[in-house]
Symmetry: C2
Subunit: 330 residues, 2 copies
Amino acid sequence: MASVQPLVRQLFSGDPRALARSISLVEEESTQGRAILKAIYPRTGRALVLGITGPPGAGKSSLVSRMVGGWRKRGEKVGIIAVDPSSAFSGGAILGDRIRMQEHCLDPGVFIRSMATRGHFGGVSRACRDVVDLLDAGGYRVIFIETVGVGQDEVEVVQIADLVLVVLPPGLGDDIQTIKAGILEIADLFVINKADREGADRLASELSAMLALSPDHGMAKSPILKTVATTGQGIPELMQAVDQGRRQKGRTASREEREKERSRERFLELFREGLYRRAREACLARDEVEAIAEDLATRRRDPYSAAEEVLGRVRFAEPRRRVPSNGRRR
Amino acid sequence: MASVQPLVRQLFSGDPRALARSISLVEEESTQGRAILKAIYPRTGRALVLGITGPPGAGKSSLVSRMVGGWRKRGEKVGIIAVDPSSAFSGGAILGDRIRMQEHCLDPGVFIRSMATRGHFGGVSRACRDVVDLLDAGGYRVIFIETVGVGQDEVEVVQIADLVLVVLPPGLGDDIQTIKAGILEIADLFVINKADREGADRLASELSAMLALSPDHGMAKSPILKTVATTGQGIPELMQAVDQGRRQKGRTASREEREKERSRERFLELFREGLYRRAREACLARDEVEAIAEDLATRRRDPYSAAEEVLGRVRFAEPRRRVPSNGRRR
């Protein structure tokens, strides 16, 4: 395997082509991609990661585009990851949304990448975290993770972020009831975009009533802002709120806790995935899987017994009694 | 462990309390639950499973309620699984939707069960398949899987179904662009509900134009129906279309292929899950996970190397050179 050191050096120096190449190597799940991720890891964790989610039609892309403009004026390099879980089948990003971002397409200080889930469990959030690390190592100080819709996948993806902005359009009507369930709990900031439309004030008051009723999520303190992304109205206030949210999060002890929590999840995800891949390669021949599928389809065997039988071929060693890294003995 | 045989017998006899009890045992992931699933498996695969998906506000529940009425008139027992992935955090089903179903609440021939994802990868579709099997074994000949929204999770869940109905409301506007990506490919039937509202005809023609442009998905042949669930308009035609779709699917050779494909996925999912659970128990002490998380958060180690290290403790046996169940030797 060719050394990844030259590529990693170029990436550290901020070369966007090295970044694009690295992302491709990582997405292909190549050994080189993995080596790159290992090499850059110590230099990650510096960027501000902003999650943007909300229902289709809320104007998320236009809002991101405006905020990107704000950070570019401050001289920060900005990365955008557009996550599109709904394109599991068509495999492409949604053109319309990307077009709204085109004002930044030619700016070398802005890096835009679309990602689809391709139907893998846990696939998006893992892949997304890897790309965040690569952008971070490439000197992008602000990284947006923008989702297309508001499903479970989106919830998982935006939880990678340091701050989560939930964007809502006025006129949701009764549907705010269906949207609130998963998404409201993870919001650090609410943005009512298209606030020049009818219903913005009503939505704002419904939302704050709803937040006031939610006891222990700390959401009650999540600010509600109004913007009109198309005209730029409310954007300076939004930038200010993000800065403030960032400072607050940085101060609290919970930031460390959150980082540890995310590290734990990430490790376990990699462990689970690696385990499955190795087990399939080592003890499940392809034609055996086919034979099992045939048996199940015709009800000759049941899936639970079949899984248990194959699991019987795996041996697990005891965990080593290692001294934890902080030096304390157990 | 107490024998599950009496419970399984009650379940086979159609006792709804035995069914509810079995579902609980399965959802608790108990050994008994697993024994029940093994025992009933040979008696499954007989029900018609209908997946219902579409954006919030499309009127899915009202439509299901109408169709349930139709099957009840034919004397069939009907099961409804309401899947609500968005409630990963709040953990409850959405009340409003359930209320629309109340006309069937007191009918002993209708069994309604809500399920939330609880944030597990692959969790809903697996749990949902188990409940489908239990309903099937309990003599429910028609089983609805109704989702709340249209995310990636919903796509996976409804793919369990034999026939997938995508329900759309008129007036989606530009948002049809964002909805189409994931969901249109899996539709066997499109239902434009609330068809008495403005925009129903336009949606129908946009939809058929879109389908005509999609080459190899076979969607071009998916019928588009119009209904008004609140008044019952178009429901007989919908029932007819479902019957027809069912007959067509039953005839084709692809039905067997599909059943085999689903069996394969199910087995691999169980295998993957079991693998992870056993590996965590056997070779990852809780405090080791904490120590690793700490190391990652502070960038002392990287998650890839940490995962590889722990994976090194697992040993996989070669697959046995078994004779495939159809008796052919390789």
